[in-house]
Symmetry: none
């Protein structure tokens, strides 16, 4: 076993933060963790300070068996968390000590086992095809067997809320069978995710007062209420909460660990994580999205990139005076930051704030000029809220900032697209630039016009300016803006670039999609030159 006696949370055993990203979270469409991924996820969760990490279902899934094997072999050292193996009770009509799946739970070496069991009479009779008495015996036998072997046991009571509504006595008998045999916590699961907070809290309260058993909560998000349901259950007396990172899970997903921790830790002041760890929520959330190979949800509560981004001009002037009046908490408390988005709705105040955020000293005239320019450009389809780098260039141009001087000038291009008779499509771009006073012409191919332009620019500039080599185009977005019927549509292009240290986004707008892309590509390179000048100046 990785640890002989599990510690529960480092804050004592009174409240359990229990993560099931590696088991229930992995049910999300599109997630497919390797064993190495699983180990990395567990390390991040442990570093955050959760109390329990459910690693998977050993004996049922080969990857999960291997995960526990490698963890036990020393590949996973946990500072805070206890590792949990998930599995089911013995089968109906069999003996627990002959059950191979139960044996696999012991073999996993995990100090804690969470058993899943039916707690809805309809499921017992129609899916399991047994009766309530045998279902309770299966639970009691298995719990006792694991406890006798030194394991701590929790019970996931599947479909509890639907079952309780249908036949409360059966559902309570299931809980009592588990607790009577030595399970420490019975976890009420809203497996189909159909609950709403007020009713759910009421049920949790009733269960606790009727049984006196320690209760946990596990919510799915099918009504969009998983986070709220989890918090409401805790307020109603549950002392164990099961979540997944970023709410990953089957169908609409599970209760999002980060929102639940934000709500319990920052709103209700419960010491759910070790001191100071709430500040790591944002970082850990994004790292876990990276491992799951999913783009972070920019609008996620607490940890999303936009969670503290203010757009409205109405608010921006007031935010400058009193940020705490416009944020539900200090974004730094959860490791996030406040951003101000500059849009057609924003005025002077947003641009001043933006300037301050960038460390620019803007004169009132420069701000006035920038406001006019932003408004004018946005009325023609430009949008700076996602294009921070283009906005910075615009502000510095208004300041006539000398850091804008670049050793190159981008002059013109020609792109040729050829769909040949044999069906092949060729894109070729030729650019003309001047670099350090010298005129350079370069031609390159690509899998599309923008890709070819990017390649040709690179071919022209990099031999003369090797520091541009690290810049790469990491994302490209296009939006066609149709306004009045009869008028020409314009195209807005956003280009995201990175150089290993930083990421930045630039924008271009034009009736011609390739020209719009060219404008955004040019800004991306000029921004790189600017950053280099600024860094050199600060040395």
């Amino acid at each position: 076993m990785t640890r002989t006696k599990p510690a529960g949370t480092p804050l004592g055993d009174g409240f359990h933060v229990y993560d099931t990203t590696l088991r229930d979270g992995a049910q999300r469409e599109g997630i497919s963790y390797s064993v190495t991924d699983k180990l990395a996820v567990a390390r991040l969760l442990d570093g955050l300070g959760v109390g329990f990490i459910e690693g998977g279902w050993p004996g049922a899934l080969p990857k999960d068996t291997e995960f526990f094997h490698r963890a036990a072999r020393g590949e996973l050292e946990l500072d805070h968390a206890a590792l949990v193996a998930f599995g089911s009770t013995r089968r109906a009509g069999s003996k627990v000590d002959e059950d191979r799946q139960v044996a696999a739970l012991l073999d996993s070496g995990a100090p804690v086992v969470t058993l899943v069991a039916k707690s809805d009479r309809r499921h017992i009779e129609r899916a399991l095809r047994t009766d309530v008495a045998e279902n309770c015996a299966m639970i009691a036998d298995t719990v006792r067997h694991l406890v006798d072997h030194g394991r701590r046991v929790f019970l996931d009571a599947e479909h509890f809320f639907d079952g309780y509504a249908f036949d409360p006595d059966t559902s309570l008998r299931v809980l009592e069978a588990a607790a009577g045999a030595g399970a420490d916590v019975v976890v009420l699961c809203d497996t189909n995710g159909g609950q709403l907070p007020l009713q759910l809290a009421d049920t949790v309260e009733k269960v606790i007062s009727r049984t006196g058993i320690r209760v946990g909560i596990h919510c799915q998000d099918d009504t969009g209420c998983a986070v709220a349901n989890s918090v409401a259950a805790v307020q109603a007396g549950a002392t164990h909460v099961q979540c997944t990172a970023n709410g990953y899970g089957e169908r609409a997903g599970n209760a999002d660990l980060f929102a639940v921790l934000g709500n319990l830790g920052a709103k209700l002041d419960m010491p759910v994580l070790p001191e100071g760890k709430l500040r790591e929520l944002t970082r850990v959330s994004h790292a876990l999205a990276e491992i799951a190979n999913l783009a972070p949800d920019t609008h996620q509560a607490y940890v999303g990139q936009s969670a503290f981004a203010h757009k409205a001009g109405l608010h921006a002037s007031a935010i400058k005076v009193d940020p705490e009046l416009y944020n539900h908490l200090d974004p730094a408390d959860v490791g996030n930051g406040m951003r101000v988005l500059v849009t057609e709705m924003a005025g002077r105040a947003s641009l001043e704030l933006k300037g301050a955020e960038l460390g620019l000293e803007l004169s009132p005239e420069a701000v006035g000029g920038a406001v006019r320019q932003v408004k004018e450009l946005e009325s023609r389809g430009w949008s700076f809220e996602a294009a921070d780098a283009s906005l910075e260039l615009l502000l510095r141009r208004e300041m006539a900032d000398s850091a804008l001087e670049t050793p190159f000038e981008l002059e013109s291009y020609r792109v040729l697209l050829d769909h040949r008779d044999d069906g092949e499509v060729v894109s070729e771009a030729t650019v003309r630039v001047s670099v350090k006073g010298e005129r350079v012409i370069a031609t390159a191919e690509g899998n599309g016009p923008v890709n070819a332009l990017d390649a040709a620019l690179r071919k022209a500039l990099v031999p003369h300016l090797p520091w541009l080599e690290s810049v790469e185009l990491s994302d490209y977005k296009v939006r066609i803006l149709v306004d009045e019927p009869g008028t020409d549509a314009v195209t807005r292009v956003l280009v995201e670039s990175r150089d290993g240290e930083q990421e930045w986004t630039t924008v271009g707008v034009h009736a011609n999609i390739v020209e719009a892309s060219w404008l955004a590509l040019c800004d991306a390179l000029i921004y790189k030159a600017l950053r280099r000048n600024v860094t050199a100046a600060s040395r």
Copy 2:
């Protein structure tokens, strides 16, 4: 005014479903609606049967002023909803009948006005820099002025919950000032989004019992609880709920209209929409995402593509026996479908339905072939949901339908894009086609590569096939699909065409945006030829 007396919801005025996608939803980062977009959004919401549609802030944003102008001019006919203009009260220390912004609210022609006002003493004193008495006078004066001019008035009490916690008397005075002057509903706004359901429900209940005023609710999602908070408020007595489509909104967003309607309509059996309209939730949600140019959230409660998709092996066999034990409601009730269980069958069924709808006699083999092809293409980024014409071509190709014979063949093209030294950008396309056995080459210019291609195709074909002249490209949408990192992004293009009688949409997917556009343009012309053949055959 578009309507002299607003109808409220078609279910009577007892409960208000109020949508603010066009105002508060538009604050979401990345959304930038054109006026045409706004009209399309309003039509979809009205078709769904919401009671009130907040169109924007006339007088503050030029696009919003124009939206109301065009709506009043007859471009927006509403069957269910009343149109609402949003704005603020008169300024401190001024007269209401001299306030230009208030005048703009009347000028908008909207029969309902929602006024926003401060209800937190700290905001009144520190952001507005006035006192509670003047704040209440500003509200009362403006409400009375609008009511005297025949408008129905609601009050959005900003920062209500934070304000009530800080100084309840001030917050209640604000509500009473509005109600006393004739406001029909005071809407308690969780502007910073920091509330949790149990506390929020408690506050709503107290406010109603202390004031007797009709109360609405407006929630932001900063704790991940906006949907739950909205539902809890309704259960506590609120009879007006403000939401946005798909939860679009500033920061973490607003309460998602579709989840709130699902919860109130399907879970709590409230008649929040006209009979049968809950079944349109999924379709309307996706259409609104399309207009916002945002990918639909696949894991969204009720309406997400994965909301009823079952992956868990544990459940798979049982789901077949008893689907209702594993879904929190019948997915069809909200216009969604269960996946996994019958993916293949569902695919077949919908294609068979589609075939019947088009009057095609599809053999089982043709359906099987089409299912395989759709799956294969969709895995590479194609999407036929919005491209009916391309889907019809695909089905007819599987049938080897003779109506597909066209008098032209589109062979190849070359496009030249030139950004010249003088800054001018030229797009020129040459196409090679064969028409009635004759090879034709034509060259044309356009304001972009696709426009030039379209012009060249037209120039090549129309002299020989004059019936193609009426076809015009009416809309063009682009989405870059980035899937696995490391693989190349592909571009999906949707082309909408019309000929004065019909509109149809075609799709093209390719790594090269111009090639993707070419594929969609070709399908558009082939579809026109097909329709002509079918019409001729039926005569």
